[in-house]
């Protein structure tokens, strides 16, 4: 077992961050539902404890190796060679930390916003965050798939129970979209299991190489699951509906961590397992990414609903992520990973911000606001910081990610780089337009006496402001996590002798 580094901390850190929230959820079941404050505090304490206990990942991570770290491995179902196998590397470590941080923020922002079925709400939040943590840590396909699907159930409830007026449609759409993709991935996983000699061990599967034909079909099976989650054009339309209808905490989970599962899947599975197929698909992914960047950006220009606008901007930003990942050079991939974190922080923060005013006015319509900078100067300042990060302003985290991605994309394909860069212009246009409509000009009479942010809301958003500036001004500690892992990944992908082929050629080969 020299290819992984076992967990050397005094406690099983990865299991803790997956199951401590679950324990919290179980405990909540036994609390009387009339004790609302108890319920909230228990949820908050468990999520905070999870976050604190996950911090050694940041401090004790070995940044010099690509190997899996903090590994835990136990036999689970020996008959089918299924193991309870967890571990993280440079791709997943920051996502795991982002997950544990997000759950605290989700609980804080829901403190007063959720008024019905409080107990069930916090149970759902804790379970979702635990399961998503599991997705990022699993090194066994069976375990991975369980977490991947388990996360859907509480998420389905969060949107379907605590969502807006059109929540049933939105949540059904969300579930069906993602399930259809996942089922194809399940077929792929089973095929791999049988093909490689009865193993679900992801690292073991990565050691093998597969004929191009096999890679091709499996690539598409996995692609269908990941593309929906990202979401890539043209399977993105569930996201605006889900975001619009979800309660604030649901939107934050969606934006900050859930849609990262797709991009994570490309990095963890598609690239190392199917390197030749991935390389052959680069032009195709580039086209989809660039379309997502520009298309979704343009749609943002005409949105009337705050959350819908930010949802579409997510599609645009995730286009940058997929572009960077498939640039297949270190700037692109590292920029892509960093942009996943950035997008989680920034878009999560923007949804939190929308939650702040939605709680006061119960309106998501941009036209219902205006001149907010006058009654809510503190809020306006926070929103400005996140707006700047969203438009990739230098000094914020968004700049580092977007710049590396455009650099990587341009290196791989000049057209992709140039077109992606136009997304930056569109981004500035719609974000500043939004900011002007909401914060500048005459104060809308509807919001003239609106109170500014309170201490709880400031505490919720402050860590995100710190991250925005920290990653923007001194990103090296974050990029350092990735170097060995990304290097190793790229070596594996680029080792294959097949040159880049065009889509048409590939399809012709397969048809033959």
């Amino acid at each position: 077992m020299e290819q992984v580094i076992m967990n050397k901390l005094g406690y099983p850190i990865l299991s803790t961050l997956i199951f401590l929230p679950v324990v919290g959820a179980l405990l909540l079941i036994f609390i009387n539902r009339s004790r609302e404050l108890w319920i909230k505090w228990i949820a908050l304490i468990f999520s905070t404890a999870t976050f604190i206990l996950s911090l050694p990942l940041f401090t004790h991570f070995d940044k010099t190796t690509y190997k899996m770290q903090f590994v835990e491995r136990y036999e689970w179902i020996p008959a089918w060679n299924i193991n309870y196998y967890l571990g993280i590397d440079g791709i997943s470590v920051l996502l795991v930390l982002l997950t544990t941080l997000s759950s605290i923020l989700c609980i804080l922002i829901s403190w007063n916003a959720i008024k019905i079925k409080i107990k069930e709400f916090y149970i759902s939040i804790l379970l979702t965050c635990g399961a998503i943590g599991g997705v990022f840590c699993s090194l066994d396909f069976f375990l991975f798939y369980i977490f991947w699907e388990a996360m859907l159930i509480p998420m389905y409830l969060i949107i379907g129970v605590w969502g807006g007026p059109n929540r049933i449609y939105a949540t059904m759409k969300f579930i069906l979209y993602t399930l259809i993709g996942s089922v194809l991935m399940l077929v792929g996983i089973i095929y791999l299991y049988l093909y490689a000699g009865n193993t679900f061990d992801i690292l073991e599967l990565m050691q093998k190489s597969y004929p191009y034909q096999v890679q091709f079909w499996l690539f598409w099976a996995f692609f269908s699951a990941f593309a929906v989650k990202v979401p890539m054009f043209p399977v993105h339309t569930w996201l605006p509906d889900a975001h619009t209808e979800a309660p604030t905490a649901g939107s934050v989970i969606l934006a900050a961590i859930l849609i990262k599962m797709g991009a994570y899947g490309f990095l963890r599975f598609s690239l190392p397992l199917f390197p030749e197929a991935s390389k052959a698909m680069v032009p195709f992914i580039f086209v989809l990414s660039v379309i997502a960047i520009i298309y979704a950006g343009l749609v943002c220009l005409v949105q009337k609903d705050l959350k819908r606008l930010i949802a579409y901007s997510s599609v645009s930003h995730m286009g940058f992520v997929t572009l960077g990942i498939f640039a297949l050079n270190s700037q692109g991939v590292e920029g892509g990973i960093l942009q996943m974190i950035n997008h989680g922080v920034v878009t999560g923060a923007l949804f939190l911000c929308v939650g702040v005013i939605y709680e006061r006015t119960h309106s998501r319509q941009i036209a219902d606001y205006g001149g907010l900078a006058t009654p809510m100067p503190v809020y306006a300042t926070f929103f400005m910081v996140f707006t700047l990060a969203a438009v990739g302003f230098p000094g914020t985290n968004g700049f580092i990610g977007e710049f590396l991605i455009i650099l990587g994309g341009f290196t791989a394909n000049k057209w992709a780089g140039v077109l992606a860069a136009t997304g930056v212009i569109i981004g500035a246009a719609y974000m500043l337009w939004l900011y002007q409509k909401v914060f500048f000009m005459k104060v809308n009479p509807k919001v003239i006496n609106i109170p500014d942010m309170d201490a709880r809301e400031i505490i919720t958003l402050t860590p995100l402001v710190i991250l925005v500036l920290w990653i923007g001004i001194y990103p090296v500690p974050f990029l350092d996590f990735m170097h060995p892992t990304v290097q190793h990944l790229l070596e594996r992908v680029n080792a294959g002798g097949i040159q880049e082929t065009t889509i048409a050629k590939t399809i012709m080969e397969v048809v033959k």
Partner: protein, 637 residues
């Protein structure tokens, strides 16, 4: 840590203090932090200037900023001759504008916010001129753009102000798009984006071509032109000039600091800084020269017809910036920077004096002013000096720099040089004409406003007039360190910059140089005289001319309809594609049609199938019997 590192960080500290504690605690004392910070930076800049004059050039990294694969960039500073000139302008003129703002912004409810933004702006501007690599330049570049956005939209309750701020930011993004691609091309070509190693490697790639989006183009030309895109945006040259006049919605000190003395000159600074990249490409140089000269003339003609006092000055700024680019385009970078430096004084002064006027009359329309010299004697005198300097009247600062540009273009010996010389010689007529049109309309004749307004006319307080007087001294004397050898000077300014920007080859005799100088002086003086005739003596003439040549007048008055053109070819189509096509058609009809259509079809199909699942045994029995008959029939036949 050395002293020079503090230059940008003092204003940053002032920003942090003001933005965090301004609203609750500091309030109307906010100017202390900002003013002390920039004056501190000015003092250190002067010390650094003396160091550099002594022959010390600094190029040092502070820390590694980004590292990914073979891409590595640090936060580090380069302080050489060009940098210190910029530092001197930014902190020197900036300090005076800060002090003036104490009076101008007095009593505004966003007082602390104003000074916070001002300090943040100065920080980014100093970062821009001090960075030792392209990415740091880009950071400063975007940073000043952001502060400009904040400050133009400072009175954000006003729709026009909020619109103008947004317009400035987005128009600049178009330029920055090219700029960013240029930086990426530099990295791909040279493997680094630090100035020193990039510039030293330029020689190795001259003549190489590269495939860019399907076109085979010269590598250096491509890089130079991409970088120039950024300069066109920031320095408001054609076709991205449209944001600057609108930017006048901001408070006047902002116009003086950002839209005259510092930020808008960043493009000129960048071209001068990158002279090793521009020099080898004749195409790029010609583009720079022609863009500059055409913009210069274009803006000068518009300035003649505008009635908003600040817009007249704004177009004048565009015009002068064009002239600086013209100089750079013929290789006379030092002349361009020299004009940048003198322009900072007289243009900041014009703006601040205009601010003093607005402070008194509370509007910007020069047609509703008149006779103000009685009430605002100091403002009048200083603005008069500024106009003489801007118009290029001999002895004043603007004369020496403008003359050097005219001479450099004429003597460059190329056809493009001749062409741009003709264009900016024409500008030399318009500049004094519109400057003095403005002065005569505002300060001479009778007051044309209401009685109520006349009653409130007053000279501005000392905290505003003293900076005016100091700037007037600059507008008069700042050029004396660059007096050409022809007039008995030693052109110290140009020689000082030579290590960084080199010097152009000039072909011409002393007689030519005298001739050029005499011609431009004659033209400038005639501009003033014609303005005097039209606006002092025969005041009916402008109206007659406007009627007679109404097409030309309307075109100029409406700024050649460029804003309207952009509205129809960019904004409207973009919104139409977004709304009419994507939002309502592709997303709503095609994708959602499939997404919602598939389940609906399945549902309909199931409905039909359901109909035969009746649950009655005799239905099933009949179908079974029919089936048996059918199969039997198949076998039998």
């Amino acid at each position: 840590m050395e002293l020079y590192v503090l230059i940008p960080f003092l204003p940053l500290a002032a920003f942090v203090i003001n933005i965090l504690f301004g609203k609750r605690y500091i309030k109307d004392q906010a100017h202390w932090f900002s003013c002390l910070a920039i004056i501190g930076s000015f003092v250190i800049s002067v010390i650094t200037l003396i160091d550099v004059i002594g022959g010390r050039v600094i190029d040092k990294d502070l820390y590694t900023w980004i590292i990914s694969g073979d891409f590595k960039v640090s936060v580090g500073f380069l302080v050489d001759q060009l940098t210190v000139v910029m530092l001197f302008v930014v902190t020197g003129v900036g300090s005076l504008i800060h002090i003036y703002s104490i009076g101008y912004m007095h009593g505004d409810k966003g007082y602390y916010r104003f000074f916070a933004y001002l300090s943040l702006f100065v920080f980014f501007m100093l970062l821009l001129v001090m960075g030792n690599n392209f990415l740091l330049l880009y950071v400063g570049w975007e940073g000043v753009g952001l502060c400009s956005y904040f400050l133009i939209g400072f009175w954000f309750e006003k729709r026009a102000a909020a619109d103008a701020g947004k317009k400035a930011f987005i128009v600049n993004r178009f330029g920055d798009f090219g700029f960013a691609l240029g930086i990426i091309m530099i990295f791909l070509t040279f493997g680094t984006i630090q100035y020193a190693p990039v510039f030293s490697q330029v020689k190795g790639v001259i003549g190489q071509t590269v495939n860019f989006l399907g076109f085979e183009v010269d590598l250096i030309t491509l890089i130079a032109l991409l970088l120039f895109c950024g300069a066109v945006g920031k320095s408001a040259q054609i076709p991205l000039h449209v944001w600057l006049p609108d930017a006048m919605e901001g408070p006047t000190p902002v116009s003086a600091l950002i839209h005259a003395a510092t930020m808008v000159t960043a493009g000129v600074f960048m071209v001068a800084r990158c002279n090793p990249i521009f020099n080898p490409s004749e195409v790029a140089m010609n583009v720079v020269a022609i863009t500059g000269a055409v913009t210069s003339l274009f803006a000068a003609t518009i300035a003649m017809t505008q009635n908003d006092i600040k817009r007249v000055i704004a177009y004048s700024t565009v015009s002068h910036l064009g002239m600086m680019f013209t100089a750079c385009g013929v290789g006379a970078y030092a002349a361009g920077i020299f004009h940048l430096y003198t322009h900072a004084f007289f243009k900041a002064l014009l703006f601040l004096a205009a601010g003093s006027v607005i402070h008194a009359v509370h509007h910007n329309d020069i047609q509703r002013m008149g006779g103000l010299r009685k009430y605002l004697p100091i403002t009048y005198a200083t603005m008069f000096i500024a106009a003489l300097s801007a118009g290029g009247v001999p002895g004043f600062a603007g004369f020496f720099s403008k003359d050097e540009i005219l001479w450099s273009t004429f003597a460059s010996g190329s056809p493009v040089g001749m062409l741009v010389w003709i264009l900016i010689t024409a500008v030399a007529f318009f500049t004094p004409f519109y400057s003095f049109r403005m002065i005569f309309l505002a300060f001479h004749g009778k007051f044309r406003g209401t009685h109520h307004e006349e009653h409130h006319l007053h000279e501005s307080p000392k905290v505003m007039t003293i900076p005016l007087m100091l700037l007037a001294a600059g507008a008069l004397g700042a050029g004396w360190i660059g007096i050409p050898a022809l007039l008995g000077g030693s052109a110290q300014f140009t020689h000082f910059l030579e290590p960084v920007v080199g010097h152009p080859e000039l072909h011409g005799t002393h007689a030519d140089e005298w001739g050029i100088m005499g011609l431009s002086t004659t033209i400038a003086v005639s501009g003033i005289i014609i303005a005097a005739i039209m606006y002092l003596i025969k005041t009916g003439v402008p109206l007659i001319l406007a009627r007679r040549f109404s097409f030309i007048y309307r075109t100029l008055f409406n700024k050649y309809y460029v804003d309207e053109l952009y509205h129809f070819i960019i904004i409207k189509p973009a919104l139409w594609i977004a709304y009419g096509f994507i939002e309502r058609f592709t997303d709503a009809k095609i994708i959602e049609g499939i997404v919602n259509g598939v389940p609906r079809t399945i549902g309909k199909f199931s409905e039909i199938l359901r109909k035969i699942q009746t649950g009655f045994v005799y239905h099933y029995a009949i179908i079974m019997a029919a089936g048996i008959l059918f199969i039997a029939a198949l076998f039998l036949l």
